[in-house]
């Protein structure tokens, strides 16, 4: 297999033309899966024997919470890549990803609170998982604040990368807080090693919405990266040509 296309993605120009072809299909596929998963889950899946219909928020809460962590993991990896190999695309990726991840963490917190009210009888408890997701949200906001405060682009790139890498330490705490510590939060819904403990008509829509949300976010981030590339490379000739030919 020819891997030449892969390292070309490190160049903003190549990445721009590549992502232009991929963003829309990925985004549409994501929307389709998300709609299937949500409609199936919210309207047709059987009710839980214990929680009744209130469990249906799982089809929003679980995908969003997974994305909140995955986005940070991706940012952390991009941070390492930038600090080690100085790849030009990584800071653009971090900048495009941070607000999306922050929104995901916020929706996870809010949907969790809404789910917590009928099942636990309270909007919020200071337990390990909830607190660590709150910290994750604050980390996202810190990275966004750092990028907005530092005017010097090179310094802002480095600073955001350093902070993303250091913040990775929070992810295992979130991931294993429900397994290792005593908490009110239930155990993980999906694991790679075991079959899910719910019937297929309950976990299939969840799978659809998880995959859908991943693709949805991927498309969104590709678009955000495109506009960031145009902004950063506005002096280069290919951007001028691109904008005059195709418009913004």
């Amino acid at each position: 297999m020819n891997w030449a296309w892969f390292h070309k993605l490190g160049s903003p120009k190549w990445f721009y033309s590549w992502s232009k072809a991929w963003a829309l299909p990925v985004f549409c596929f994501g929307c389709l899966c998300l709609v299937i998963g949500l409609v199936w889950g919210l309207a047709f899946a059987p009710a839980d024997y214990q929680q009744g219909n209130s469990f249906r928020i799982i089809y929003i809460h679980v995908p969003v919470a997974m994305l909140a962590q995955s986005c940070y993991l991706a940012m952390g990896i991009a941070g390492v890549v930038f600090l080690v190999w100085q790849m030009k695309m990584s800071p653009i990726f971090i900048k495009a990803m941070a607000p999306v991840g922050a929104i995901m963490a916020l929706i996870a917190l809010v949907s969790g609170a809404i789910w917590g009210k009928p099942t636990w009888g309270t909007w919020w408890v200071w337990d390990a998982r909830l607190t660590s997701v709150l910290v994750l949200f604050l980390l996202y906001m810190g990275i966004i604040a750092l990028q907005n405060t530092i005017d010097d682009v090179l310094l802002a790139n480095k600073a955001a990368a350093v902070l993303s890498v250091v913040g990775l330490i929070n992810l295992p705490i979130i991931k294993y807080s429900v397994v290792l510590l005593e908490t009110l939060h239930q155990g993980p819904t999906f694991t790679l090693t075991k079959k899910p403990e719910m019937p297929a008509e309950m976990w299939l829509p969840l799978l659809f919405s998880v995959i859908g949300l991943y693709c949805f976010v991927a498309g969104l981030v590709l678009w955000r990266m495109q506009s960031e590339i145009l902004l950063r490379e506005h002096r280069s000739s290919w951007v001028k040509q691109e904008v005059t030919e195709n418009g913004l």
Binding site: T149, L154, V166
Partner: protein, 221 residues
């Protein structure tokens, strides 16, 4: 410049700017005093809350002190001299933190018996509190200095440093207050101290390198 002359110069600079160190101490005491006045001054509230209050105040005072760690050096150009000195930058940063830690933490520790008495902390918890401060506070310095280095070139960096660094302090605060609570209940607390020591050592391993990257980026910018 050698490592020992650098350490000596650091202590000398901190000694000449004693007012800054003194300000951090005063800030610490004022934050502690806020709680009995603002929340509740009864011993029933203060005795269990004392460790948490002292730790929150410590964290804020340390961040206030760290925000200016590299600022003066950046302004007078000595930060650039550190980068081009040919000595290992992470090691210089470790030395700098050692100097800062001694100068900031020792006065805090000296005021501790007085503040513990004012907050009605029972003597069973006092030595646990001192232990958590000794073992846990190095991690505060090592983590916080990353924030200080990242915001060197920003004029109003203090607020941003708080925003960036405070989330990383939460585990340290959690384990410290758990240790003091365990001591107050008569339970063994050495496990919590071991966790704090582990965090300090982990941050000692990671932070000097991250700080060096941030310092180099700030100097070049």
């Amino acid at each position: 410049m050698t490592y020992s002359s650098f350490l000596k110069a650091e202590f000398l600079v901190l000694w000449r700017r004693k007012q800054d160190v003194f300000n951090a101490l005063l800030f610490f005491i004022i934050v502690v005093v806020l709680f009995p006045i603002g929340v509740n001054s009864s011993p029933e509230f203060l005795a269990p809350a004392a460790a948490g209050i002292i730790w929150c105040a410590t964290v804020l005072a340390v961040l206030m002190a760290l925000e200016s760690t590299f600022k003066e050096d950046h302004r007078d150009g000595s930060l650039e001299q550190l980068v081009v000195s040919g000595l290992s930058l992470p090691l210089l940063i470790v030395l700098k933190i050692i100097a800062q830690w001694l100068v900031v933490m020792l006065p805090l520790l000296i005021t501790m018996p007085l503040l513990a008495e004012m907050l009605y902390l029972p003597s069973s918890g006092f030595w646990a509190l001192i232990g958590t401060l000794l073992v846990g506070s190095p991690s505060l310095f090592f983590i916080g200095v990353i924030g200080g280095a990242l915001t060197v070139s920003i004029k109003q960096g203090a607020m941003l440093v708080m925003l960036l660094i405070l989330p990383f302090y939460l585990p340290v605060i959690i384990f410290s207050t758990l240790a003091v609570k365990a001591a107050q209940a008569g339970l063994p607390y050495s496990g919590f101290l071991a966790m704090l020591l582990a965090m300090s050592l982990l941050s000692l391993v990671i932070s000097p390198f991250m700080t060096a990257i941030a310092v180099k980026a700030s100097v070049n910018a």
